[in-house]
């Protein structure tokens, strides 16, 4: 196939690809090195240390735990609200259903600042809500729900689920029974992908969270912004390193699921 493309084409493509990879990965490597170096202004020759990571943990461990709690709660709400909605959107393909789906994705398209302002104006005066972590969870749910719905729906369409569901209904199973025993198990790959996406997005969410947070409800990205503005380069880098380490298992999981999915559909095609 590559014979169809000239040598210059291939060489240019490879060169640009490598340059882009260097641009994307270079700063990450710099950041990791800076977080582990005794004195970044002197360079790596000053020696490696975990001192900055320990300092970050002392100062910001609260933000790490809060981010995890927010992410897990967001995931729970997205599962409870998003998966059933995905099934309804799979069954109904009318104009109204499509409009609903379009509407649901608006919080992703519209800048997070606008969503956060709207939330503060209309719900900020509710006693206790403004100062609670729940306020951040609400913002995160709005932002991540479309990803869960889209991902779950991808696993539900085309699997003949509607027919299975009809059959079970004829046999007298209730809606909830059918949903839990037919729809959810069959949509598991999509739900899993959606779940990991929700966790990843929630842990990194800043645009909404910066306006929604209070001094007592700081999440990890909020703490990151704080450390970038006020801490030494080494501390900010070490904190970034902690964040990357949290993100890594989720990304590996997503990559693995994508590979699994490709193999499954590939096998399906050849069979």
């Amino acid at each position: 196939m590559s014979a169809l493309h000239s040598k210059t084409d291939t060489r240019l493509g490879l060169a640009i690809t490598l340059a882009v990879a260097a641009f994307l990965v270079g700063p990450v490597v710099l950041s990791i090195l800076a977080g582990l170096t005794k004195n970044y202004f002197v360079g790596v020759s000053s020696g490696l240390t975990l001192r900055w990571v320990a300092q970050v943990w002392d100062m910001y461990d609260g933000t790490v735990w809060r981010s995890l709690i927010v992410a897990v709660t967001t995931l729970a709400v997205c599962l409870l609200a998003g998966v059933p909605a995905a099934w309804v959107l799979t069954l109904y393909r009318g104009r109204l259903a499509r409009a609903f789906e379009e509407l649901l994705t608006l919080p992703v398209a519209v800048p997070g600042l606008a969503t956060a302002l709207a939330l503060i104006i209309s719900w900020g005066t509710v006693r206790g809500l403004r100062t609670s972590t729940l306020f951040i969870v609400i913002g995160h749910v709005l932002f991540t729900l479309p990803f869960m719905v889209r991902s779950a729906r991808a696993s539900m369409t085309g699997a003949g689920l509607a027919v299975l569901d009809e059959a079970a209904a004829t046999l007298g199973a209730s809606h909830l029974q059918r949903f839990m025993t037919i729809v959810v198990p069959n949509a598991r790959p999509g739900i899993l992908t959606g779940g990991l996406t929700v966790l990843t997005l929630s842990i990194g969410e800043f645009n909404l969270t910066w306006l929604l947070h209070t001094p007592l409800t700081q999440t990890l990205p909020v703490g990151l912004a704080d450390s970038y503005a006020s801490m030494r380069l080494e501390v900010a880098s070490a904190y970034t390193l902690v964040f990357l380490l949290m993100l890594l298992p989720l990304l590996v999981g997503l990559q693995w699921l994508a590979g699994l999915d490709a193999r499954r559909t590939g096998a399906g095609k050849s069979a």
């Binding site: 493309h5 309804v88 800048p111 645009n207």
Partner: protein, 272 residues
Amino acid sequence: MRRRGWLIFAAPAAALFLAFWLLPMAELALRGASPVHGHSAYMAVVSTPRYWRSLLNTVALSLAAMLVTLLICLPVGRFLAWHRAFPGRRVLVGLLMFPMSFPGVVVGFLIILLAGRQGVINQFVQWLTGDSLVFAYNMGGLFLGYLYFSLPRTIGVIEAAAMQLDASLIEAACTLGASAWRRFADIELPALRPALIGAGAMSFATNMGAFGTVFTLGTNIDVLPMTIYNEFTNYADIPVAAALSIVLGLATWAVLFVAHSVAGSNERGAGA
């Protein structure tokens, strides 16, 4: 008819969306129309050159970053699509996609490491010429940041579209003696158009609303998200912040909508 019983299953999502997004957004739009000094905030926004400049800056910068992103991603996506197996491919693709999930604040910090006062670019230029080159804390840095978070997303979309390309068309053109450039311009580019438009619109919309990167790089970069934030926190001018948010939201949504319909009609045209 039996299906009707399922509708209730969409109720939680619909209720959440209605209560926490649609109604608050309506209230935000109304707040922008509430009178300040005898005019609505929308009038104030429309009649103040400062806000216009901010909007134009945002649009120009987002557009420029989008175009450069597409220009860079086109050869990368094609290269990856046409070479599906070579040693190290998985690692390379992993490296290219890894930064996709970085939030804007982190991207801002990485740009500072790259082009800030202690950044590698500055150190290299100083070593080379003795002068200093620092551009992280202005439009240049923001442009680089936009590129940073647009590239991974766009590469994936273009690669996927290039994989779908019918190789026999290019083979046929080859046999008919079309030059490499003609094959690219007449066959590949039209086939990739919907993907380019879609990815471009996504990149533009993300750039328009990106706040974390600007926030990290500096408060004196004059783009709309920063202006909204300043109105809200420094001047507590909520009606103006609301009006500007609505303008930003509408502009972003309009671009996505137009791109969606253009790309959609193109797909239908190709099918017919």
